[in-house]
Amino acid sequence: MAGLHPHHPPEDCLNCEHRHLRMFCNLTPEALQDYDGIGIMMSHARGAKLFSEGDPARNVFVICFGQVKISSTSRDGKTMILKIAAPGDVMGLSAVLANVPHEVTAEAIEPCQVKTVRKQEFVDFLGRHGIASMHAAQALSGEYLTVFHDAKRLALSGSAAGRLARLLLDWGKSAANGKPEIRFTMALTHEEIANMAGTSRETVTRLLNQFRRDQWIVIKGSSLTIVKPDQLESLTA
């Protein structure tokens, strides 16, 4: 959920100034040279679907900038948002390597630039470079933890307030990146946050207003600052 985006999107991987901040792309010079030669860079408008649940997995997608909503839809049309993927995140990797259709839908929630690599090209690349396959393992492990924490958040936080607090703290923690101020950009609507926290849109609006009145958070436009993380933490107990 971090709101930090480069003003000038990278044109290629070799000259990307954000590479060292990204888990997957932070490769050795040899692997990077090879990585730069595979796949294509694609721009997506807000609302564009990169892939849909049930589609055959033919590509792996690495986000260069922008944010992508990862969601799943029930038979009755209810959308459940699992996470917001950020720059450096790899999408579609589990489906490609497990050789199954995409398990989720990926939709740009703001203009995005995404490196798109064909399945076999990506698998061959991993085979050629040990560091790339270790980074892929870390990406998969991170994906596994995301799913695990999502389920744990729903199962172990008894109240809607606790689940929303957990979500805000998780976003704040990943955006803060070691800095003392816990601030991030909320790119989601209250309805979408409700889908993630397993509650209703009305409850999210009410709780955010309550947190703001209690001065636990400060909201300015789309920017949210957590002022009293301990108070939010106490709700998640």
């Binding site: 398990e103 933890l145 199962a155």
Partner: protein
Amino acid sequence: MQPEAKSEIGEASARPLAELLSCPPPIASLLNASAQCIVFDTRDTIFQQGAECHGLYVVVSGQLLRKAERLEKRLTLGTTRVGDLVELAATLGDGRHTYTLVAQSSGSLLMLPMNALAQAFHSYPPLRMRLLEELAREVSRAYVSCRATRLAGIRRHGFKSPLVASDLPLGPQSND
């Protein structure tokens, strides 16, 4: 992107263990020599959630429970079966245990230490790719279970009660 035909999402099944860990003799010898046998009794804790992961565990006999905890709340996530690979995500990922593993009966585990696995990965890349693919299958299964968990929660309206153990998306379902 080309328009692609939709297909039904099925569960990615786990590969047989022997196939997964098969290596040329020198690598197999390295793994065999470094493998540690862990014998456990009922209620023994094999590892604790959040603790450093020392390697990849293979269930040889007995039954174990995966448990997650947050502050004073605890949740049973499911059991392991003989032949299950335990904590592949932690082994290949951040090296921290995702959950606590507790023995439900007496039995034994085989633990392949991290450094031996790293050496094997380095000397024999196909093993790394196979485990990577297995982790991908585990992630894929987790997504399917997570969807079921969330749907169950939505049907219950409001997620008021904690989910039951078997709903949670953890660990390989079976290596049979």
